[in-house]
């Protein structure tokens, strides 16, 4: 019996409330974040997730996004509040076993994103003398907007020692580069890289953790977690409807992000096309993850003047230091009477601006993190930066190169983790994630 037929297996069906507050529905819209300013809205993107979200129009907790479709969800999907991200090393398995892993993950992810238990029998419906196929901590919880997004790291195509373990070397996208060393990188090996990744986003942290826990359990013997990261307080809005949230510096983050509604930008800068290096990636995207530790104790001792100089925006409402409201454009050339730029030459907002990066645009989807504290009693806090793009070579790399070399913020941040993944297109029902790669 399939789990979704099992009595009690379905935790909660999304039931849109008739008297839903319109304001709440805005959370369901999708968004894109870009490092650059965006043009006027060009209408709601015809993304399945947008449509699904529009159809549901529920408050966050009960909504669910379809798992199958042209694109994977969890990219232009309206950024949920919580993240559990996991990077995996693939073990010494065959190509067929790798495919079976992806099939198993696909089936389970489709169940989990619907708010169902993982596996036949679920948390309590299986054999009494066997461990339950689902771990159970999500019993009674709604889908909570869960999305599960799977990516393929460079190691899947070529292992560190140069082996072509799965016969995929010739299918490695050129865009899936080994990221260069950026100035100031202090990468920790144990928090860097990976052959596979799972990004689980949800409005309920327990739902996100439940997803990663069950998917990693399914992978035992085939892939094991290399590193993982919990995140909270989405640091980017990916739709116009979402309020811009704040990072742990206390500043609004992602104001000028690409938004889901900017269909043309999304198509040009987020989704890979068949014309790129590997046609199997059409409809997919490339994900760069960076774990950025913030030395918040030092930051908190900086004057408000210094903080705003570093960012280039006001701390209160996030407006550019050249005036206007949060969404006003930057006037990078404007100076004081003494000829000093109002937005500092080293301000983060200037250096990340498309004018400074050759027009590079990113869909940002990061989260704040606090991993307890370090040995010195400082919070191990920061930003788990996630960005999606069609080609990291012309998007993330020039943006980060510019920031790493010049950003005034570098005094307060340190990049300690890094990874890059090819995120394949969505799976169609009956197929599995990554099927075009193995075709």
């Amino acid at each position: 019996m399939a789990a979704d037929e099992a009595p009690g297996a379905e935790r909660l069906t999304a039931t849109p409330s008739a008297n839903e507050q319109p304001g709440l529905s805005r959370r369901r819209l999708l968004g894109l974040v870009g490092a650059g300013a965006v043009g006027a809205g060009v209408g709601i993107a015809a993304d399945r997730a947008v449509l699904a979200a529009g159809a549901a129009m529920t408050s966050g907790a009960a909504s669910s996004y379809p798992f199958y479709g042209t694109h994977q969800s969890g990219i232009v999907t309206a950024a949920q509040d919580r993240l559990h991200f996991a990077s995996f090393d693939v073990g010494d398995i065959s190509r067929d076993e790798l495919i079976y892993l992806l099939r198993d993950w696909t089936v389970a992810a489709a169940q989990l994103t619907r708010g169902l238990d993982a596996g036949d029998g679920g948390a309590v419906g299986g054999a009494y003398d066997a461990p339950p196929s689902d771990t159970g901590e999500a019993i009674g919880l709604p889908p909570a907007g869960l999305t599960i997004t799977v990516g393929f790291g460079p190691g899947l195509f070529q292992s560190a020692d140069g082996r072509d373990r799965f016969g995929l070397a010739s299918r490695r996208p050129e865009e899936l580069i080994d990221l260069p060393h950026f100035s100031g990188d202090a990468l920790v090996e144990s928090q860097t890289g990976g052959d596979l990744c799972i990004q689980a986003c949800s409005d309920d942290p327990q739902v996100a953790v439940h997803a990663v826990r069950n998917l990693s359990r399914i992978a035992f013997g085939r892939a094991s977690i290399r590193w993982s990261q919990l995140g909270f307080g989405r640091t980017s809005s990916t739709t116009r409807g979402q309020v811009t949230s704040r990072n742990l510096f206390g500043f609004k983050d992602g104001t000028a992000n690409v938004k889901a509604e900017d269909t043309a930008l999304v198509n040009d800068h987020v989704w890979a096309s068949a014309a790129q290096s590997q046609p199997w990636m059409a409809g997919g995207s490339f994900l760069v993850a960076r774990k950025i530790r913030m030395t918040i104790e030092t930051w908190d001792r900086a004057s408000l003047r210094e903080q705003e100089r570093v960012i280039g925006r006001t701390k209160g409402d996030g407006a550019p230091l050249t005036g206007g409201d949060e969404f006003a454009g930057l006037d990078l050339d404007r100076t004081t009477g003494d000829g000093i730029p109002l937005i500092d030459e080293a301000a983060h907002v200037r250096l990340a601006h498309p004018d400074s990066t050759g027009g590079a645009v990113l869909l940002r989807r990061g989260y704040n993190f606090v991993d307890g504290n370090d040995d010195l009693g400082r919070l191990s806090a920061g930003l788990f930066f996630l960005c999606y793009q069609s080609d990291p070579r012309t998007q993330f790399v020039p943006v980060q190169a510019n920031l790493a070399a010049n950003d005034a913020m570098n005094e307060y941040v340190r990049h300690i983790g890094s990874a890059i993944f090819a995120v394949p297109p969505g799976a169609s029902e009956g197929s599995y994630l990554g099927a075009p790669l193995f075709a």
């Binding site: 299986g126 054999a127 003398d129 359990r217 094991s224």
Partner: protein
């Protein structure tokens, strides 16, 4: 060890008298066709009339020419799992062990005095007679036989644990620390193979195998790990070595507790349920995953991989005991477990063996530990479904 597990419960529900169950392995009508071999258990040997037999029904007629009771075992090719055994063979009172044997390699051994690792251990080959050897008896009988064989295995291990512990403690008591250290890990292997059994006897495992961290404030810490710390004292921590009297005290306690374990498994009413066997296999892998793979079990001697090997062997024996019963209903699980056991055994073998010694835990790299942990997960996850496949 860790906190006592409740997985390995004992039950009187399927109480089996060993000899009865084993005799039940073969129908009486087949007895007439059996290949008959004679076995003579002497003071220092175990002499068979032939070192091979054709597959099918084989009868071992065992005579005892010593002056104490003896036992005869047929062991699987791992030298651990008991395929069949007959015990309590009195001098001058022959007994017969009749088994339906598949082609393969086995070992024979006798055990005068019914303790220790036996005498006259020798290879025994069952050749392919061409006739199919069907499992005999109905499922209930096969379950009973599996339980009986597992009980025999437990007894065999405890019977070897007793003298091994004695030799270790003799050296420790005498202040021969080098010898004691050399015997420590290998002696414990007998215990690690059957750890869930010991844990089923409430108080015994805590007093035999508690780690320092397991002991509550105010309770006395005794057993193997108390002595381990004294043999591998922590540097620069102000550790005070035990006196000769204290050494004797802790040695006596461990001797007494080990004897109590022996008495418990040799009690006439000792039995195990079939699910206790499969859950024992699962529990042993859990032991590896929670204690050995983290280096917490042998925090002073760092001989965790010896314990790992013992746990793994014990899990394998328990699994093999029920494997053929599970296979018809779930061949996929059996195939997976066969492969994963072999893989983990091969992986662990790259770090050594009980005979030649293993790499010490503190010499392992983080990547090596992670690789072993991945291997344990790969086996433990499907193994966790064994009990349901067996009883449902």
């Amino acid at each position: 060890m860790t906190a006592p597990t409740i997985r390995f419960g004992l039950s009187a529900l399927t109480a089996i008298a060993v000899a009865v169950a084993l005799a039940g392995c073969v129908a009486n009508s087949q007895r007439a066709d059996a290949a008959a071999l004679s076995v003579e258990s002497t003071a220092d040997d175990c002499v068979l009339s032939s070192t091979s037999a054709p597959s099918g029904t084989v009868a071992f007629d065992v005579t005892n020419s010593t002056d104490i009771a003896t036992e005869f075992y047929l062991l699987a090719d791992d030298g651990l799992r008991i395929v069949g055994e007959v015990e309590n063979i009195a001098p001058g009172a022959p007994r017969t062990l009749t088994l339906a044997l598949q082609p393969g390699e086995y070992f024979t051994v006798c055990k005068p005095g019914m303790i220790g690792d036996g005498v006259g251990r020798a290879a025994f080959t069952v050749t392919d007679s061409g006739s199919t050897v069907e499992p005999t008896g109905d499922e209930a009988q096969r379950l009973d036989a599996a339980a009986a064989n597992y009980v025999a295995y437990v007894k065999d291990q405890v019977a070897q644990l007793v003298p091994a512990t004695r030799a270790f403690l003799d050296a420790y008591r005498a202040g021969d620390d080098d010898t004691a250290r050399s015997l420590y890990a290998t002696s414990r292997a007998y215990y690690e193979r059957i750890e869930p059994v010991a844990e089923s006897f409430g108080d015994l495992d805590p007093s035999i195998d508690f780690r320092e961290a397991d002991v509550a404030e105010g309770d006395e810490w005794t057993g193997w790990h108390r002595i381990e710390k004294d043999l591998w004292p922590p540097a620069d921590s102000g550790y005070v070595a035990l006196t000769a009297d204290e050494r004797s005290y802790f040695s006596d306690l461990l001797t007494t507790d080990t004897q109590a374990l022996f008495d418990a498994v040799y009690a006439t009413d000792y039995s195990v349920t079939i699910d206790a066997i499969s859950n024992g296999a699962i529990g042993l892998l859990d032991e590896v995953a929670s204690g050995k793979i983290t280096g917490e079990e042998e925090i002073w001697s760092h001989t965790d991989l010896w314990d790992f090997q013992g746990n793994l062997e014990g899990a394998r024996v328990a699994y093999e005991g029920v494997r053929d019963i599970v296979e018809p209903g779930d061949p996929e699980l059996v195939g997976t477990l066969d492969a994963e056991f072999a893989e983990l055994e091969a992986q662990l073998a790259t770090f050594g063996s009980l005979e030649s010694g293993f790499t010490y835990y503190d010499d392992l790299t983080t990547d090596q530990v992670k690789g072993l942990a991945d291997g344990v997960n790969a086996l433990a996850e499907p193994l966790s479904r064994l009990t349901a496949a067996l009883v449902d």
